[in-house]
């Protein structure tokens, strides 16, 4: 459960939902993201005072997804699975597909945006609304932007 905040920069505060994930089916959103760097240097502050350390990319993703007023029930692998606990990993990893499948929706965080990749996404969004047979302006910058979008690391992970 991600606690709300008005401020983008405010520390990320979470609480763990003790509910069995299978009981919560359809009642959470799953976050799909690439790890970015391997360093777990960004803290998620738990209600009980301890910290879960996550990668920079998950930190960015959670800030992007944080509501202003309401808590948001999210599932993200590094926060949920204790990566250093091998036995737990052996149980959780094979179930990941079920976790994603059972989510209300999957939120795929591609990155902080601002570059050509984001422009590529807007372009595809416009293209998806075009009527059948409509010509979409296609030029060098179009393919560069779409290319930049698909070069984002998320498209290379499962």
């Amino acid at each position: 459960m991600l606690q709300p905040s008005f401020q983008h920069n405010a520390p990320l505060r979470i609480s763990f939902d003790e509910a069995n994930i299978w009981e919560a089916l359809g009642d959470y959103e799953a976050v799909s993201y690439t790890w970015g760097g391997p360093e777990l240097t960004f803290p998620l502050y738990h209600d009980d005072g301890f910290c879960v350390w996550v990668t920079g990319n998950l930190d960015l993703a959670l800030r992007r997804l944080r509501h202003r007023l309401d808590p948001r029930r999210l599932w993200a692998d590094a926060a949920y699975i204790d990566q250093s606990n091998l036995a737990e990993k052996a149980i959780q990893i094979p179930q990941m597909n079920r976790v994603y499948r059972g989510a209300k929706r999957v939120l795929a965080f591609l990155g902080p945006g601002g570059g050509e990749g984001e422009q590529g996404m807007r372009l595809l969004s416009r293209a998806s609304q075009a009527r059948k047979g409509t010509q979409i302006a296609n030029n060098e910058s179009t393919s560069r932007q779409v290319g930049a979008l698909f070069s984002l690391p998320w498209f290379r992970r499962s």
């Binding site: 990941m96 595809l124 293209a127 998806s128 393919s143 992970r157």
Partner: protein, 447 residues
């Protein structure tokens, strides 16, 4: 991400996956040369996989094969390469852990094998990537998927050669780099001859295989000593990378046979080719060789797009001179898929060491083969599946042709130690081989 509702977020922009697909379609119809957009094909593959595993109605009893899945997801990066296998356990339905609740008591015991080809492997994160992949390979062989597995190892780049990596273990971190010769055929094979035995130490595995020919099966024990002799050895090879047309393949094959000792052609009697190749009889009947070469080309055309095989068959029907020995009056270009596959393969000739019991009889051995480029003289062909009989009769006198699928093993000095170096398809005339291809058993240490 196998959820019906996937929303992509990039900065402040959002886009659902169905919209992304729709946008791609719209762009595709208006774009010429969309293949020039980097990453587009990979993204389209991802989207297709998402559609397949999310929306498509599963066919009853459909096998979501983990070996297909690891290949399909091969170009995805994984933060932990062991998850290339473990993360697919929920998606695949032919892999289970030993502790799975549905097993009978018998299958819960270590070492027992499931009858329905389910791969049994525990998830153990205390093993490293190499150990995990070795375990997975062993489990696949135990589940009678050994040939598929070996092809997966063969068609990946041999970076692992410089490491201490067993040649029979596919490195799933590496994408498939060349077209396999066996895969399409193997899918239709009901069984293959690779069976497992216990692994010996971390790097090696003892593999047992039964070898079944077209003759009456013999008791395995009887042929035990002879069996090694039943596996053809590579004698010589010719690069096929420059072959662009049907005639150029004929030319390569005929050159290969022409290089053989003259005594063959002249006397048709037994000669000695050296230590490895025992007495063999006249192997070169020009018409037979040409028919086998045609069979090989027909097999290669299957690698081409739909319709090319038909046009080749038509071509053959229209050009009866293919069966005669004077120079070809016409030629046909090979499809691009075939020439690119040939870049990694060679045309070669191999011969069998004959078993003692029939060594006195001269056996003609017309044989045309296509196999991995990296093979060397002396490499052994290890037949992995039942032979396939050609359905086409070329001439009234011709005997049926058989096609064999093999992996290529290289001896490491020690008689029972081999490395897997490639795969091959070879073509034989029936009467040449059915006398001595019987059931047997080969125990070899693959490294």
């Amino acid at each position: 991400m196998l959820n019906v509702d996937v929303k992509l977020l990039c900065g402040q922009s959002e886009l659902t996956l169905p919209r992304l697909l729709q946008g791609l379609r719209a762009l595709k119809t208006s774009t010429h040369g969309s293949e020039s957009v980097p990453g587009l094909q990979a993204a389209q593959r991802t989207a297709a996989l998402w559609k397949k595993y999310t929306f498509e109605e599963p066919i009853p009893n459909e096998v979501f094969d983990i070996l297909n899945l690891v290949d399909e997801f091969a170009d995805h990066r994984c933060s932990d390469d062991r998850d290339r296998i473990f993360a697919l356990y929920a998606l695949a339905n032919n892999v289970k852990t030993r502790s799975w609740a549905g097993w009978s008591d018998r299958l819960k015991r270590p070492g027992s094998v499931s009858k329905d080809r389910t791969i049994i492997m525990d998830i153990n994160y205390s093993l490293d990537v190499r150990e995990t992949y070795i375990n997975f390979a062993k489990s696949c062989i135990a589940a009678k998927m050994g040939v598929r597995l070996l092809e997966a190892a063969i068609t990946r780049n041999l970076v692992r050669d410089i490491e201490d990596w067993p040649s029979w273990v596919p490195d799933w971190r590496v994408q498939v780099t060349r077209c396999g010769l066996l895969y399409r055929e193997l899918q239709s094979m009901s069984h293959t001859f690779l069976r497992s035995a216990e692994p010996k130490c971390s790097g090696t595995i003892q593999v047992q295989a039964a070898f079944l020919g077209v003759g009456t099966p013999m008791r395995p024990s009887r042929l035990d000593d002879e069996l090694e002799a039943l596996f053809p050895n590579v004698v010589s090879k010719s690069q096929s990378s420059t072959c662009r047309s049907v005639a150029s393949i004929f030319h390569a094959v005929e050159e290969l046979y022409a290089q053989w000792p003259m005594s063959y052609h002249e006397q048709g009697s037994e000669i000695d080719l050296g230590n490895d190749i025992d007495k063999i009889a006249r192997p070169y009947d020009e018409l037979q060789v040409r028919i086998l070469a045609l069979e090989m080309i027909r097999y290669l055309f299957k690698l081409g797009p739909e319709g090319t095989l038909d046009s080749f068959v038509t071509f053959m029907g229209d050009h009866m001179e293919l069966f005669e020995m004077y120079p070809l009056a016409s030629d046909m270009a090979l499809p691009g898929e075939v020439t690119s596959a040939l870049r990694h393969h060679s045309v070669f000739v191999a011969v069998c060491k004959l078993p003692k019991l029939i060594r006195h009889s001269p056996v003609p051995l017309p044989m045309v083969d296509i196999g991995t480029r990296s093979m060397l003289e002396g490499d052994k062909l290890f037949v992995v599946g039942p032979p396939t009989k050609s359905r086409i009769t070329y001439t009234s006198q011709s005997d049926p042709d058989w096609r064999y699928h093999a992996i290529i093993l290289r001896s490491l000095g020690n008689l029972n130690h081999y490395r897997v170096v490639g795969e091959a398809v070879f073509f034989y005339k029936e009467h040449a081989i059915d006398r001595y291809l019987e059931i047997g058993k080969l125990k070899s240490m693959l490294e």
